[in-house]
Structures are given as structure tokens and as C-alpha cells.
Subunit: 348 residues, 2 copies
């Protein structure tokens, strides 16, 4: 499927090694609450997980931002906590509260996890990918995703998001063997989940390491870099043409340089990354994706247009995919997204 | 006072340009809840701000960690929110909740602030410094401090700590003139507060920019770097021998390199900073301070000793002050702090 679609997609071309005159564009969380048509489907579905697990609805909200803005890539509507859910954990999304899990605190909790992902949880994701893939034009790529083992583990151990994911950091320091066993499970689950998404029609996959920034360098190498290497290596062995983007939010450029030595196609940059330095140190190895501050998109006005131009200039002539440096926020005005699309596609 | 004390203090020697055989050592939040003698005084004082504003008690808790561990520097017990409090804001510390302020949302809120710091709030801080200074041996330096304008502003606008200090980032984007006016007030207040602390007996001052890491590079330069430059320049003009450390928590090494061009004596590194890169890019310009992960100090054991040795080796022969990469946590075992002191002072 990806072979067929590769040529005319600017997004895939950048991942395959070819810079474009205007950078391809998509936005993290582009299928989300800032869209009135999303809120309508979400209300119909009732809760968040029902939306994730109903292929027709997940496909519909995945396609909404493509229809409205013509982004160069769709990203399947799902959640990084689908994987622990499919490993048998209890996962809830409470309104305005973020995710809640029954935390794993000991080896018994780890041993209770399923070795194979529950098909009742993951099959709907693959079905949704299949549906979206069938409806996208060849110009628009489809992205599958998962959370990185470190990031998913932080939620499995804390049972929620915290300031600095201290609970997982403490377990990794106090009981590295137990923590390694959890990471190993998540590496296997991630390989399976990403591979199945590619089989279902995803042209590329993104691995979200949203909490990569809270670790010291030695811990980053052990809990982020090594597991990612195993996933990327296995995925390349099973899916020769897999296109893989890692998004290590909050990681230092030094950490990203080490990551860029993996056989990745792209690295996502958050909004705090120094683009001049990133250009010097990353773009000869990987495509770069990012990195507009989502708050600049909310604020709009002259500063937004200036920053978009600055991002384009900083990465001109390189393999650059335009994106935000983090997910779009629900309060973002639609008119500002329209302005973004216009400015990213304008000839320089 | 600092002239008299400069020579025999390893901490001041490092700031003055001379590496030491074993790095001087202190810990952020070393006067704090992990100490039983602190908890006793804190219980007697009742609330946190009473402790800050009672010179005898503030001096006592400042000295406690020096008596117990013989650190090379004492840091005056106070809080970065003393400045907005002394500017007339309502500041409360609610148990287990962190600080609460009545947020500034518009120009009227800004105009209502005092131009000169309320002596009832800041005089007790200077008195406490005076008391501590009189009781410290010449080997032990005394550090005064304030929050950086950006970081203090984030609390003044959000009224509390948040995930990513979005409220201040939004105000800075939507109404940069109003935000600049607030920063200008805080620059002046910081210069006054730091200068008075030096006059009262502080040998060095540290500027805590705890939220430096949430800004994109252009915003970092405007809201962190520029205000710091004004503070450092003014303080050097009024206090020729001022010794100044900046701690831009979460900032990238690229941002810290720009900061290192200010006439600073030292830069604090959080635990995520790559030490090899920091050594290459900072130590020819400033002393570096840090950067043990406070969670490693809680966890203890072999990993703690290895990491202490690794930090010492990474900065050997440079102007290095040993510290944590963030404040010590209340649950830290005293035995681990004892081990830290032993390992930092061991001959390599």
C-alpha cells in the first residue's frame, strides 16, 4: 500500500529523503476538540475510548481535518494508552482529568499483563486504519502511532500524568530489573502494534516519547534510546519499507543526536528546540518535523505569521515536515489554523 | 564582607575562577523538610511565610544543614515569591497545594503593584542574612537569591504553578507590552532585592529561572536572557564584586551558551543536562553547578555512588560546584545525604 502511495505524497517524499519546495504539513492532535465536527462525533460516541474503539467513528474524525484543511498526512485517531489497555490494564478517561490507570507497583502487577495484545482493543484500530486508507487520496499519507515504552510505562506506574513522572523514575532507579521487564513487554507490544498498523494501511508510524525530557542522559539512553532501537530494528526487519518518526518531547539536542543514529526516517522537534542547532546536527541523518509552539497558534496575529516564516526559513532546503511542537489545544481558533495552512504553503 | 571571606571558601574560589581538588558542595532546598530539625522549627512557626519572615527562625533553619553536613555554602531560607509578596500581591502557601496568588490579568493589576518593595516583607530576609553571616565560619559562603523575572511572572499571572505555565506564555504572546511592563517591574525588584542581600552579607546570589524550559528560543531570549542581562549588568555596576549564578532549569544547552556570555560567575545545570557537552561549551566561560537527579539521592545504593563519581569525573579539573539538578525532596533519607557528602569529598 505504501509503495503505491509513496510517489505523489510530499510527506512521504520528505521521509524518503527528498526535500520539498513547501514543507508538507500536519498537526499533532489535528483530529481533536478544536474542530466543531469532532466535538459532534465525540458527543455522539459518549466517552473517549468508545470513539477510539469504533472504527467508523475513529475513521470519520481522522478524516475531518483532512477534509477541512487538506493536510498532507492524516494520523489515525487513537491513544497511546490503547496499548496498556490491550495488555489488560484498566484505563479510564475522566472528563477534564486526563487518563487514569490502576498502577503497576510490583512484579505481580507486571505478570498479570497479557503477553499478546487483546484483539478486542487493537483490531478496531486496524479496522479504522483500513477504512481511512481506502478513503484518502494518494497525495495524503496515513500515520499510525504508539507511545514509546518509557512514556507508556510512566503512566502504567503512576496511574496518571504527574509533574515529572517521578513514580516511574523512582521504580527505574530502585528496581531496574522489574522496570526493564516492563519495558521489554512494551517493546514487544509496540513492535506488534506498529507492524499491524502498517499492515492495515499506515504509510508511516510515529513513536511518541512525550516524557523523554525528564531523564538524565544515562537514563535516557537506557529507557528511551535502547527500547527505540529495538523497536526500529525489529520493524525494519519485518517491514522493509517502514517509515518511522520518533518524537522525543523535551529531549536535549545531544539526546536527539544519539537518536538520529538509529535507522529512523524522521525526528519530531518540540517548540523549545533551537532550530539552527537542529539543522546543523540532525538534518544530514533524518527528516525533522516541527516545531511551532501551539500557544502561538492560539494567540495568532503578526507573531504567528513571523514564527511560521522563521521556521520555514530555518529549515529551507532540508527534509522538513511542518508541524506544531506539541498537540494543538482545544481553544485554538479555526481561523488561525487556516492562516497556518496558507502561510506554510505560500511560495517563499 | 565577601572580600574578607573570599579566600578560604572553596565555593567562592570556584566562582572566582579557581577549580578545587574536590568540588565544593551544597544542595538546593538543603534547608528543608527532609531534616527533622527543620520540621520541628517549621511546626513551631506555624505557616511557611511566618518562617520566612522571622529572622531568628529563618537564620536557624539556614544554619541547620551546615551544622549537620558541613556544606560549603548556606543558602538563606526564603522563597522566590517573597518578591511579589513585597510588591503587594496576596501570596498564600496552602499545605500540600503549593503557592497561591491572586493572579494579575490586566494593566490595572500591574499598576496596583508597589514600585518599592515593602520593607515589612524584605527587611526580615536581610536581617536573617545578617544573622547567618555573623555565625558562619569563613570557609562557608552564604548565598542570597531571587526568582528570575520570567519565572516569578509565571506565578503572578497563573496564580499558581501549572503544567507548562501556559497562562504567562499566552499573556506574553497576546499582550507583549503588558507582559514587558511586568518583567520591567520584576527586573527592578530583583536588582533591589539581590543588592540588598549582598549588602546584608550574602557572598553570592543565585537567580532561579525554574520555568526557563517552557519557552521557544526567541521567547527565551526576550523573557529570560534579556531581563537577566539587565539584572546582572546593574548588579555589577552597584556591587563590583557581586558573584552571580543563574539556574535556568530546563533550558537547552544552546540557550545556556547564550546565557554564558553574560558576566555571570556560574550556571546551574539541571539533571537532564549532558555533562560532556556542557563541559565543552560552558566551562571556559563560567563555573558549572550541579547536577545529580534528586531522585537518585532518594533511591541511594550503587547507582547513587556511580552517578556521583560520574559527575565528578565529567567535570574534573574544571570550575565545578557539586549540587543536585533540582531541590532535594522531603522523602530523601538522611543516610543518603551523608553518603553524598562522603563521596563528593573523597580523593579521586
Amino acid at each position: 500500500m505504501s509503495e503505491l502511495r509513496a510517489k505523489p505524497s510530499p510527506f512521504l517524499n520528505v521521509l524518503d529523503g527528498f526535500p520539498q519546495d513547501t514543507p508538507p504539513l500536519w498537526m499533532m492532535r489535528q483530529a481533536g476538540r478544536y474542530l466543531p465536527e469532532y466535538r459532534e462525533v465525540r458527543a455522539k460516541a459518549g466517552d473517549f475510548l468508545t470513539l477510539c474503539y469504533t472504527p467508523e467513528l475513529a475513521a470519520e474524525v481522522t478524516l475531518q481535518p483532512i477534509r477541512r484543511f487538506g493536510f498532507d498526512a492524516a494520523i489515525i485517531f487513537s491513544d497511546i494508552l490503547v496499548v496498556p489497555h490491550a495488555m489488560g490494564m484498566n484505563v479510564r478517561f475522566e472528563a477534564g482529568e486526563g487518563p487514569r490507570l490502576d498502577p503497576i507497583t510490583d512484579r505481580a502487577g507486571l505478570e498479570a499483563l497479557r503477553l499478546l495484545l487483546d484483539p478486542a482493543k487493537v483490531q478496531p484500530v486496524y479496522e479504522a486504519i483500513n477504512k481511512v486508507s481506502a478513503q484518502l487520496s494518494r497525495e495524503t499519507a496515513l500515520i499510525g502511532f504508539c507511545g514509546a515504552p518509557w512514556t507508556v510505562a510512566t503512566y502504567m506506574i503512576a496511574g496518571r500524568g504527574t509533574d515529572d513522572q517521578g513514580p516511574a523514575r523512582m521504580m527505574a532507579l530502585r528496581d531496574p530489573d522489574l522496570f526493564q521487564a516492563l519495558i521489554d513487554r512494551l517493546v514487544d507490544a509496540s513492535i506488534a502494534h506498529l507492524g499491524a498498523q502498517i499492515d492495515a494501511g499506515a504509510d508511516a508510524v510515529q513513536i511518541f516519547d512525550s516524557w523523554a525530557g525528564v531523564l538524565d542522559p544515562a537514563s535516557f539512553d537506557r529507557w528511551c534510546l535502547r527500547p527505540l532501537r529495538r523497536i526500529v530494528t525489529a520493524l525494519r526487519a519485518s517491514h522493509r519499507n517502514a517509515r518511522i518518526i520518533a518524537f522525543p518531547k523535551g529531549a536535549s539536542l545531544e539526546a536527539m543526536e544519539r537518536l538520529a543514529h538509529l535507522p529512523l526516517n524522521g525526528i519530531g522537534l518540540d517548540w523549545t528546540v533551537d532550530r539552527t542547532a537542529a539543522r546543523e546536527r540532525l538534518v544530514d541523518k533524518v527528516a525533522v518535523q516541527g516545531n511551532l509552539d501551539p500557544l502561538r497558534l492560539i494567540a495568532g496575529g503578526a507573531q504567528l505569521e513571523e514564527e511560521i516564516l522563521s521556521i520555514r526559513n530555518d529549515f529551507e532546503g532540508t527534509r522538513h515536515i511542518f508541524n506544531l511542537g506539541h498537540g494543538i489545544k482545544p481553544e485554538t481558533p479555526l481561523a488561525h489554523v487556516e492562516k497556518l495552512v496558507e502561510k506554510v504553503r505560500e511560495k517563499l
